[in-house]
């Protein structure tokens, strides 16, 4: 089955359990949202999926289209089609967006094959236009001196250029004003389709007005406690996380 699958995942950092028995499956072609209060382990989940070296998986499995992701380095996972839009993207001083993306795309080509430059720039400019980014942006160093909105837009630009099979968007809405949020949502919605599975991680329901999910999961204390359709987000907004927390004792297996 073509899906990004998490099974009974347990994650610890410095002996502290952050994720405790989380299960989840995002089929390719669907958009799933994970909502949860601060400290519920949402960002940890995102980083573990991407292969951050600081986190230890003590139990459980993560697979992508049936392949064991935990056995792979972060860069292998990325080249095989997993993308993470970071909540706090790193600066890469002195490396321009154009050169960075070029190196990222080049890393996906077989040895000895060179990325075709004119095609690359044509695609880059097309995606930038979609995201309302000025062309001069390509010559700026990655995230260096960027505003919050510019950083998030740059993450979505990379998503659009790298065309992953699965994308995890970690708090992509945080720090965005409503106009920037709309632009980012438009970017994601354009990419929506049978070839992309999306996992949206968010604290607020607001983003889900613009990127309407197929499924919503509520995460509390390192577990999924409720799963449902898009209306679950509205119910959660209305009743608050305490309502969701009440169900935390009994873990629910998503889908």
């Amino acid at each position: 089955m073509n899906e990004l699958r998490v099974e009974n995942l347990h994650v610890a950092i410095d002996d502290q359990q952050i994720v405790r028995g989380l299960s989840l499956a995002v089929p390719r072609g669907e958009v799933h949202a994970i909502m949860g209060p601060n400290g519920s382990g949402k960002s940890t989940l995102a980083k573990v999926m991407a292969g951050h070296p600081d986190y230890h998986v003590t139990k459980g499995k993560i697979t992508m289209d049936g392949e064991d992701l935990l056995a792979l380095e972060a860069d292998d996972r990325a080249r095989k089609g997993l993308f993470l839009a970071f909540q706090y993207p790193s600066e890469v001083p002195g490396v321009t967006i154009a050169n960075f993306l070029r190196a990222a795309l080049q890393s996906r080509l077989p040895e000895g094959e060179e990325l075709e430059a004119t095609e690359y720039y044509a695609r880059l400019y097309e995606k930038m236009e979609l995201l309302g980014m000025d062309r001069s942006f390509t010559s700026r160093a990655v995230n260096e001196g960027f505003s919050g909105g510019e950083k998030k837009r740059t993450e979505i630009l990379q998503l659009a250029m790298l065309e992953p099979k699965y994308a995890v968007l970690d708090e992509t809405d945080s720090g965005l004003d409503i106009d920037a949020l709309k632009v980012v949502a438009r970017g994601v919605n354009t990419m929506r389709g049978p070839n992309l599975g999306v996992l949206l991680i968010t604290h607020y329901q607001r983003l889900l007005n613009y990127i309407v999910p197929d499924h919503v999961h509520v995460m509390v204390q390192g577990r999924i406690v409720r799963s449902g359709g898009k209306e679950l987000a509205l119910e959660l907004e209305e009743r608050g996380y305490d309502w969701a927390r009440a169900a935390a004792d009994e873990p629910v297996l998503a889908r």
């Binding site: 991407a50 292969g51 951050h52 070296p53 600081d54 380095e73 972060a74 860069d75 990325a78 080249r79 993308f83 993470l84 970071f86 993207p89 790193s90 600066e91 890469v92 001083p93 002195g94 490396v95 050169n99 960075f100 993306l101 190196a103 990222a104 795309l105 890393s107 996906r108 160093a141 990379q158 790298l162």
Partner: protein, 469 residues
């Protein structure tokens, strides 16, 4: 003190080789009056050069090693085991066809492509002590530009050569400039007549190709009034088991309104002591710019300088140093302001990998009686591993009023988060690291000529290969 330097095992497919050369002229090992007379006899030196060499030897023997401030590793040099002169005995070749086949093979492995030659106004390639190949494009020659080996320069153009030789860097400047004075051979002599702007960079490749053999080239460049010239020097040395000493002296003279740009990209193997003295003398409204790139070697000590002698003279040093395991890059710049309204700019970036150590030493001197002088110094260090080391010793003396000086220094590290971010986009850890390092030096490299910036990028990638995993 004897220390063992273990070379980091990196891929040096290029530059790691040597071919058998029939050394017809060989001064043996060690240094004495006899060695000097031998060299002078073989080279058929004029008397004044022989005397210059003998004075050099005397000064060298009298001066102590500068180990009270510099690395004690200098004491590991065994001057008695070094071969101070070696030449094939042939006269400099004028055409490519005359160059011996095995030497051509060396150039091929070095990647000096035939098509590149058309970009170069002239190629002066030093193979061991003597220039075996020297070819000056017709156009440059017709402009009256002289571009020859230093030996040919002092013999055929004494009226210009003698006037400036040893004037910018006197024999007694330091122990190693004295050593060079005693045993120099090879290097370039360039004279650019007034008003002539040399369009293409003049280029020379230097190599060391004999075990225990020191290379002591001597370069003198004179840009006459209102002229402009760019000189490029590149090195990739073969790897040997025992210590190799390289101690060059480079003197630049920019007369009124002239511009000289001197570009070096050096990639020494990890057993080389690279102890070089480089200085320029900038007259009124003249400009001297050193672009200096140091990769490899066991110990490099090099502080290119400019003496700003005339009003409105400008001096600049842009340098990049990369110190890998067991290597020490002790580099920097000297700016001696000696006239009003002179300006100088120093930008230095260093990268330390593994147990590598990068040291910046800067000297900026503006005396009290001068007006409207400016200096800007920036030195940035990047540490790759927790065992890497960097030190900064800026000595800035600015006296009087109306002179401005600015100094900025930074030390940074490539963070684990940054590497993870780049890996998440598909780059391997090594690729991420080398892209970060290239980013760190990017704003400086952009000022390099195209072919050098590409070469440098490749060299950095090679050096980074051993640093992760």
């Amino acid at each position: 003190m004897k220390t063992e330097t273990k070379a980091v095992d990196i891929n040096r497919n290029i530059g790691d080789f040597s071919y058998k050369v029939d050394y017809a002229k060989d001064a043996g090992t060690g240094l004495s009056d006899k060695t000097i007379h031998y060299i002078s006899d073989v080279k058929e030196d004029p008397d004044w050069v022989r005397e210059f060499r003998l004075r050099g030897l005397k000064t060298f023997l009298e001066k102590p090693l500068p180990t009270h401030w510099a690395s004690k590793d200098l004491e590991a040099i065994d001057f008695d085991k070094i071969r101070y002169y070696l030449a094939s005995g042939d006269a400099a070749k004028q055409t490519w066809e005359e160059v011996p086949e095995d030497i051509k093979r060396t150039f091929e492995r070095l990647g000096i492509p035939e098509q590149e030659r058309k970009f170069l106004a002239g190629v002066e390639a030093q193979f061991d002590s003597e220039a075996v190949y020297s070819n000056i494009k017709k156009a440059v020659g017709e402009q009256g530009v002289i571009f020859v080996g230093s030996t040919e320069g002092l013999k055929n153009h004494p009226e210009i050569f003698r006037k400036w030789f040893g004037k910018v860097i006197p024999i007694a400047d330091n122990k190693f400039s004295a050593l060079n004075a005693a045993v120099f051979s090879g290097g370039s002599f360039i004279y650019v007549p007034p008003g002539v702007k040399v369009k293409h960079p003049l280029q020379a490749y230097f190599r060391i190709n004999a075990e225990n053999f020191g290379q002591f080239e001597r370069t003198l460049i004179i840009a006459d009034e209102g002229s402009e010239v760019t000189y490029m020097e590149g090195c990739t040395a073969p790897k040997f088991e025992t210590t190799t000493l390289h101690s060059a002296v480079v003197e630049l003279v920019a007369l009124k309104g002239a511009k000289i740009q001197y570009i070096t990209v050096q990639n020494w193997s990890a057993n080389v002591f690279n102890l070089v003295t480089k200085r320029g003398l900038a007259h009124e409204d003249a400009e001297i710019k050193w672009i200096d790139c140091n990769i490899g070697s066991r110990l490099t000590m090099k502080y290119p300088g400019v003496v700003l002698k005339g009003r409105k003279a400008r001096g600049e040093v842009l340098s990049i140093a990369l110190a890998n395991n067991g290597q020490h890059q002790d580099t920097g710049a000297k700016m001696i302001h000696a006239a009003d309204e002179t300006t100088s700019n120093i930008i230095s970036k260093s990268i330390s990998i593994g147990t590598g150590r990068a040291t910046y030493r800067g000297l900026v001197h503006v005396p009290k009686h001068l007006k409207n002088c400016k200096n800007n110094t920036e030195c940035d260090a990047l540490l790759i591993n927790s065992t890497s080391r960097t030190d900064t010793y800026p000595a800035i003396t600015v006296r009087g009023t109306g002179n401005a000086v600015q100094h900025e220094a930074s030390v940074s590290q490539v963070s684990a988060e940054q590497i993870f971010y780049m890996q998440q986009r598909g780059l391997s850890e090594a690729q991420a690291m080398s892209l970060s390092v290239n980013g760190f030096v990017n704003d400086l490299v952009r000022q390099f000529p195209m072919e050098y910036s590409v070469e440098l990028k490749r060299l950095i990638e090679l050096e980074m290969e051993g640093s992760v995993g």
